[in-house]
Symmetry: D2
Subunit: 294 residues, 4 copies
């Protein structure tokens, strides 16, 4: 359960540090350094202080911070136990349920990365689909060590921001969440399309695609809840699947047999996990259109 | 090699019958009956005469005609030998390359149909995808015998029309061919999109989908040849896949990383194998639209 | 200045009647009848009571109510003085600024209506454009007297609801307002189009069309205020004019000379003055689309 | 009536020159120079020869050629008599039917041009609408004399090409014609929209707009003849007006009252008189889209 910023401002130094000890993985020293600068007037200010502490730490300390992070999708480490945060984060990207081909791909790039840089590959897994992580992995493998030190710290700060956001409530917000929504407009009847079944699927390249959510449109042609909200929208490739054949058949609209359009797939990529992305469908039984809205 | 209608009109009765002996499967008697009414002033007139001969034949003869047809996707019969026409027709629908689950489904419905009606299920396989054949199969299983006698003759005549069309050239044409085409319009630059890779895929339900054709758009945004032409467009479900990510990247258009739209799937069904169906794509890097054109 | 419902509930009978005396034109008796049923727990309940008083009044009283209404667009009556409400209402529809041809058309149908029914034509002018009033006028001319008595009462109640809504504030709302909005999405860049000049024009048939509002889109591609809001959206024909040539030129997008699209008109009709109507524009320099949204 | 290139190749020198004497206004010397180089194997080759003769003529001869051209829209010259070609050309752009404001605008720029350059403003009026001519006029007024000498020769050659194309038939063609077409697709029913009334209007800025053509769509959703074809499509601004309210009402489609969409205007500019421009309409009673097609 999240504590409040006010509580943290008033807490003993010890309680403050214990609460924030794992915002940076296994690194209570970050919390220790910023405890003295209390009170903080917002969570953004607190986070900026923690980030500054990391960026201004001696190089060997930053390297140590990098090295305490677990490997991605490493079964041995997993069996031996991860921090609760790391565990939940890796699960969120589906790294606990890899197909054999995916598992092998992760092992291969993990090993290559370790061999080249001497430290583990770190990425904020809540911000990417597993296919997108593999791509990022391979791209970063070609960097030099200095660039990867920097990239690692950047990703560690992204992980920390999400952990802090979950741990502490405040009046202000860290900009760590995105929003993915849809809207179905029936341009045959000129009204929002209600009761259309919608599926959001995260596309994989090696293993199986997985359904992120199944829902139906409401009277306004929208979904009651955003398809993804209250968290980053993981960068990667998705498919929205709309069951418009069933929708028009139920309304008694004359259709061909089989219907020209039945399940319509919209395939698109997310590139900004903290952005608002709206992917609507304008549809008749014989035509449709979509666009990137906001 | 097709013979000409003029040749047929002038041929000996024997040659006429030999040429057309298998237009109706294993049934030279149809050709025999219509030989005497020569000359024919067109292939349509010739076909109407053959069709009339079948429809006016005694019921037992029509039943015999039905019974000489092979089962669909029957490996034993296939090994024992089919007419060259039947062989080619079954191959055209991919019935020679079934996945195990599909093979079993065909066997199951074949047996059930045989058990109920006492004659084989007949369908003009050049007019349907294999998934569509299975659907048709199950739908017709619920008919009564009289309806199925009629449906079988109807399908036999469709098979015959296509065989006659291949065997004989004339000034007029039997209406047995359809046409499937596409067109990619780049509404970002206001020009036809040239060089877009396009794939047409026939969707299956039980086995694997299969690529019907791979091509690229020409300077006019069209394909040099229709996606399907000069034959019926098999009823069933298809997907067109357009590689627009690559197209816009090559033109130097600013894109997100990964691109919002990369490979765009348009999924649609064909319901009229002899019709002209046009499925265009209007596209920018951020939006697209399609419609059933003609 | 609007008074509150609480004030009215607590006011003396005299003050109550004086405040609401002209909700029904020159007819304080309606307010008198409903004063005794106070307190009202909402403005909807108050209006329903007033409406019931009118509908249950003796026929001759309803006829008298109809007859005290002024003619539409009657210069003589206008010079002699209208109630402040009637004056403002007629101005809102532009009836104070008629072209000669329009003035003559109004006179002609006014006279014909009077001659046939013996009472003035009444319409809630805030709910229609002047062209739409003329059309309604001519359509109603063919009704019989009973139907027109009923139509007149219906329109009087609509006028009254709007007057009551302006006169009294309460926690609940009468459903007398609509909403017209737009949104410009630049599908060339995949972003909302900011800074597009937009004009909303009310189309006339006889006289001049008139500009309802001129504005520009904000960073979200919308207008800061609805094009029409906080009042009924008058039924009638409109044109939205978007200056997209200027917008794309300023962004440095390559265009033809002259630009293929410059000022884009969207012409549409409003049929539900109390509804929410959204008319968006999806646009590139070479294509556009619109639809009735909500 | 047009003569053939073969006839010209075989004609006497005198007949050859007489036939082509006015291809360049009042300048038989051009034809005289190229007569000796016969035979020509195509009309393109003949035109290139005439063009070369003009371009290689001494400067004073080119200036004289420019000066023998009449002023645009000059009533006095018109009364005194123009060449038949000039007369027809000016009529084609509507220069014989100017509103007062337009006439004055033409006089003003004519005089200013004359005063600055000492020769008349020349433009190939078949390639521009009258509004577009006025714009071109004002733009060219700011050039220097050398540029205007060159522009004048360029326009004279365009006039000559069109005159030659009308005077002579050959196996090859001069690229002097464009093509404007439309197509209405009813995406409510998934079929081409037949019987939709279509009007093409040339928009003016000072005087009245004028209807170029009125027609209806055929069973294919197209017009039987191109909206403009067999001649240049004059550069300028146009409006296509589609009577879709009537179309959907006749088909019994449920509509609002008044219909949301009634007469749909598509306003666009032509910038390439020799190009093929296709402006289609995809429409339901509640939505529509258009794009620059080809």
């Amino acid at each position: 359960m999240a504590t409040t910023l006010t509580d943290l401002n008033n807490a003993s130094r010890n309680d403050f540090v214990m609460t924030l000890a794992n915002v940076f993985e296994h690194s209570p020293w970050v919390a220790e350094q910023v405890a003295v600068k209390r009170p903080y007037n917002g969570i953004v200010q607190l986070f900026m202080a923690m980030r500054a502490a990391v960026e201004q730490a001696p190089a060997e300390r930053r390297l140590a911070l990098i090295k305490v992070h677990p490997d991605l999708a490493n079964k041995t480490q997993r069996a031996a136990g991860l921090t609760r945060d790391s565990h939940a984060e890796q699960d969120s990207a589906g790294l606990d349920q890899l197909a054999d081909a995916e598992y092998e791909a992760f092992q291969r790039v993990n090993n290559a990365y370790h061999a080249k840089f001497g430290f583990p590959y770190i990425v904020c897994v809540r911000r990417r689909t597993k296919a997108s992580i593999l791509r990022d992995f391979e791209r970063r493998l070609s960097n030099d060590a200095a660039a990867e030190m920097q990239n690692s710290v950047e990703e560690i700060c992204r992980i920390a921001a999400l952990r802090l956001d979950q741990a502490v409530t405040a009046d202000d917000r860290l900009a760590v969440h995105g929003h993915l929504s849809t809207h179905v407009l029936d341009t045959h009847s000129g009204k929002p399309a209600a009761g259309v079944r919608v599926e959001l699927i995260e596309l994989a390249e090696l293993g199986a695609s997985r359904v992120v959510t199944r829902t139906s449109t409401n009277a306004d042609g929208r979904t009651d809840h955003p398809l993804i909200g209250g968290r980053p929208v993981p960068a990667g490739q998705y498919e929205l699947l709309f069951d418009v054949g069933d929708y028009f058949a139920k309304r008694g609209v004359p259709l061909s047999d089989p219907p020209f359009l039945d399940k319509i797939p919209l395939r698109f990529s997310v590139s900004e996990p903290e952005g608002d992305l709206h992917v609507p469908l304008l549809v008749t039984p014989w035509s449709y259109a979509t666009y990137r809205g906001s």
